[in-house]
Symmetry: C2
Subunit: 760 residues, 2 copies
Amino acid sequence: MNDEKLNVIGLKQSFVDAREKVSGSAKYLDDMEFPGLLIGKILRSPHPHARILSIDTSAAEALPGVKAVITAKDCPKNKFGMEIADVDMLAVDKVRYVGDEVAAVAAETDEIAREALKLIKVEYELLPVVDDPIKAMEKDSPLVHEEKGTNIAREYHIQRGDIEADFASCDYVFEKEFSTHRVSGLYLEPFGAVAQWEANGRLTVWTGLQSAFQGRNEIAKALGIKPTQVTVKAPFIGGGFGAKIWIRNFHPIAAVLAKKTGRPVKILLTRDEEQLTTRPRIAPRMKVKLGMMKDGTMVCKQMTIIADNGAYSWAAPKVLLNLSMRTDCLYRYKSSKCDSYLVYTNLIPTSGFRGYGNSQSHFAVESFIDECCRKIGLDPVEVRLKNCVHKGDVTLHRWNVKSCELSECIRIAAEKIKEGRLPKEDQNGRIKRGIGVACMTHVSGNRGGDKFDGSGAMIRIHEDGEVFIFSGESDMGQGAKTVFAQIASEKLGVPISDITIMPLDTDVCPFGMGTYSSRVTTVGGRAVLMACEKVLDQVLSLAAQMSKRQRDTMYMESGLIKCSRDPSILFTLKEVATKAIRSRAGVPLTAYVTYDPPTEGSDKDFYGDYSSAYSYGAHGVEVEVDTYTGKVKVLRVIAVHDVGKVVNEFGINGQITGGVAQGIGWCLYENMLFKKGYPATNGLHGYTFMTIKDMPAVEGIKIESNDPIGPYGAKGVGEPTLIPTAPAIANAIEDACGVRIRDLPITPEKLYWALHPQDK
Amino acid sequence: MNDEKLNVIGLKQSFVDAREKVSGSAKYLDDMEFPGLLIGKILRSPHPHARILSIDTSAAEALPGVKAVITAKDCPKNKFGMEIADVDMLAVDKVRYVGDEVAAVAAETDEIAREALKLIKVEYELLPVVDDPIKAMEKDSPLVHEEKGTNIAREYHIQRGDIEADFASCDYVFEKEFSTHRVSGLYLEPFGAVAQWEANGRLTVWTGLQSAFQGRNEIAKALGIKPTQVTVKAPFIGGGFGAKIWIRNFHPIAAVLAKKTGRPVKILLTRDEEQLTTRPRIAPRMKVKLGMMKDGTMVCKQMTIIADNGAYSWAAPKVLLNLSMRTDCLYRYKSSKCDSYLVYTNLIPTSGFRGYGNSQSHFAVESFIDECCRKIGLDPVEVRLKNCVHKGDVTLHRWNVKSCELSECIRIAAEKIKEGRLPKEDQNGRIKRGIGVACMTHVSGNRGGDKFDGSGAMIRIHEDGEVFIFSGESDMGQGAKTVFAQIASEKLGVPISDITIMPLDTDVCPFGMGTYSSRVTTVGGRAVLMACEKVLDQVLSLAAQMSKRQRDTMYMESGLIKCSRDPSILFTLKEVATKAIRSRAGVPLTAYVTYDPPTEGSDKDFYGDYSSAYSYGAHGVEVEVDTYTGKVKVLRVIAVHDVGKVVNEFGINGQITGGVAQGIGWCLYENMLFKKGYPATNGLHGYTFMTIKDMPAVEGIKIESNDPIGPYGAKGVGEPTLIPTAPAIANAIEDACGVRIRDLPITPEKLYWALHPQDK
């Protein structure tokens, strides 16, 4: 495949929906109009942990313009959730975090709905707040979910090799604790949904889910109906970053309100509600133990993780699994061990966020390697190069490394960040500068357990030669539609302008798992490619029939169908398509495929090759530290990524810039803080985040390792661009001022106290 | 196939959409709501033929609430039409019939739009009116379309065998002229459309077309854009009877108004507009010449047809072709000849209507056979039985008769109508009663020329076992959705309630030609059956894989998947579907097929087998004639139809009752009259039609000939039920009172003067 001369793959291709987006004509959920639309609003718990003694909705119901007021008693009693069904759509008996859904209204206007919420009277009995995961694990801790008998939502104990013996054999054994924190996705478009029941008993939900099909199933589960009674349709989506993979409570709530009123109901979260109830990263404490030899050989690694899950589990069990394992596959360890615990607290529920746990563990391990190397006087870059995985390796957890330019990424990042670096000191030592490097590995798809990781694609060539592509994968803004169009354009030889990516609609589009695990290009794109190949075979067969030639002499070149035996034969795709659609040949010029990558999933011990490709990358970072204030400024980032193959250079550049920015924000600025369970940083006014002024120069470098499985050799790059940013910054800070910060975020305050412990 | 034990095919199956229809929750076009919807209205010509000197729209444009006023100068200049592109969406330079589209407005309300129409000032110069097709054929006639240089829109000259020699050899040669008239479809739901442009430049049109795909292409042609830039979506459709096969001018007009205003625009015809501009039957004068032997052998037949086409051609050229040929295939003639002319006049344009020309020629020929037999003292029923076609025949035009119970139909109709007939006279001879029989043949699909007559179907089995069927064929109320669901239910062993027929949407549904030529069950249904077979093969392969058995030992029985070698193996469809949708087996449980019947189409002389099955039927009718008033009352109808195989007995019964009613209405009541080109019977107040009080007892008898090609042996029955009604009534009238009426409708006035010529 990689010998093909490529015309479209690798270009700087403007996004196919760019014109709609920049002109403002793209319809996001809130731009859509529905006749008779009611506005739904949710009354949320003001307390982190409380028993509901009574709810009086009578005043709200009496307010003119209010069409429905619902509480748990009006809702189906089906607990739902991603891995663990621990969620009620409206609180039953008690609330578990500030923001928990208690009641909901549907009204003629937003104003009336807000007014109605104020009229609902809820009596609470406050309960002791569980806000520390370590204390929450103690036997006598109050329970977040009494019926479970414990606050431990999930635990993993994973070991490979003889870790005791290996540690015993090491020249050095280091151990330290790291921790990371909750941050918000801060996607431009708040999450929301419009629910409408059809006359035939079917429910349509318009919502910008990253996983439309899994969302459809979960909405059905919450409502106690069949999945196919629900249609999920995706408008344009303004970002998700993981927080929109799964449904939220408002999805089934909107459906219940729509059912009760017989009208469409829209619930669109306000920015404050988003901050209160978004799905941030899970916040782990990670004890890391590393065994090394004098020559820099990294022998073995052990982690103990206690992760604060918040009140409900969502994707957190899977995130914790990634946290527990993936960094083991970055280097050639002999053995590894991890004991990890996911613990319920009365804080905001956590879930997946760009990196899906991998960011947290990379921060810990990639920071710690630097720290250890410094201690024993080795160059951390050299140590990385000495130990990192290579193509052909099978890692500790049985990842089959079929393409890998990790060492090249590390080498280039290290070299480039050294080139032209600024003086180490300035202003008489007030400003100190340093450089740091960190690397990463990530998946391009994820066969969880024995489950499916595939994607369907349907391609239809219409009689005017226009190509319609149907996929079950979401484009939340990352450019999936453009990648799919490029793949089809390349394979079928038709211009991008003749290709339409059809809107995502679960009734129509083939089943797809959704946009997560950086899988859309690799898995969804491969499905599109296969559908193109299948339909191209139909095209060539028909062209052979039309020209009375052998099928095997027909081929496509630059969008024209030719015959190797007769240069006079020449068809355009449109000519064949026009013929085909009205043909007795039974060729519909429609191809439908399901592609499931050739991976095996993992066994009950999580041992197994579960992604068809693994991405690698390294970031080199230069920072300056104002030692008087503790303020860190990131000056430059060299982001080197083994992307397999560049499909859309514009798209990858966007991912790199965005991933770096989000990584810096996570590392230096953002933090969702709580005091005794009450949020202390709610709303954008109370939440520090990065702005364009803080953005460093980013140089993105793409290494093409030509993966044998990905379409045209491509691998996922969406999440990887974030992952090594934070540890590279932490390493650069230590290089600059000799201080190691092990708990994120690295705020000026924290760094100041570390630089000036005597001032405390 | 016919040996299968059938569980669902043949049942009396309630229509799958019956609940929605009877509860009023089904959404017809006018029930749909669109935010920002504007109402479009069309200014129509008050004159049958006039030059447009000027149009002043300024006053209309100035009316508050008017958002757009358009005339031809605002529209793309692309003539369109079905067979002949002779239509402009708004009149250019001149108008050609009363109702012709001159200008259009879009306004905030219906009232404002109507008011705006009144403010548009059009100056006309009246032109001589062409209202008699015979005069219109004369050399010096004014021309309806000057650029054509003639009023003859189309002519056919078709001959088989040595007709001169055959007539010379006959014992008798008879010749008479018959004529039929324009009638309105009078479907319950007036025709209309909503047009809306999407931000990405695509146009969506919601409209109840019988042929959504052909409509899509024609709208695109009128607008000068690509077919796939247009999406046609069908709401529920309240009847069509042929008049909704093709688009009307209002379709592109709505699109132009929507483009100009940037808002969705609805044009819904009023009942008066429908009567003024519907597409009635073409009105032919048919000279029939019949050659017979003394023993009743029908030797040869010649027709000369001059058909009034009206101002624009639409489907009339195809209708005339059917008129010219199809009755030749009812009997074993040695030779036949037809010369036919379609002539433009300044009357309402004609087109296809249930029977599609076949009704008109059957009226002439089936009436004339009776008349000739009476003259030579033969029993017309015996003569029909002696001459009619049988299974295995190849007719004069090369129709390959693969299933045919015509003689059985004739025999039963004749017998049953005799049984229990009332006295021949009553009230001292004032009331006279008679019986008559007529038969018919019709197609079940139609490969016109070398074109496609196929249909696609896509079936998708979701993970919860629900079956979604996508077809490009319309259900205009005839019950296609139910037939498709029955076929899938039978083949896949799932209950009807688990099957959803998806809404017709040209972006999503496979290409289909549409609902005409009684082809939907035969062609569309067969495509559904094949898609079921294909998906069933996927199901059985997967079940074999799941149970580790050979594929060829797996089969489905009563909805369960079994293994012939191991009775312990038993899967439900849902079990397999759940597994399949998340499977690496690459089986999507989605099948997409295109079926094109094994017919050859016809050559340039229209010789060829162009339907995979031919339907046959005979109606026996008893009438009473009030000889004092000329009023005819139909007492009983025995409708015997070779339907191939009953799929849904409810559906067929509905078709029979409806076809008979519409046949009686055409024969006795309805008539669109014109005076010098001006309509004389406009609106329902001025148009006589049949009501429930005039409805006779109808006994429908279904004969199953088990067609070898149709799905489960079924053939089309939609149009056939109308066709023999009118000639059977005419024959019964002659039997009752000795008077032969050769021009429809048989009004009391007409019959009175025939009974009492001396009173004239």
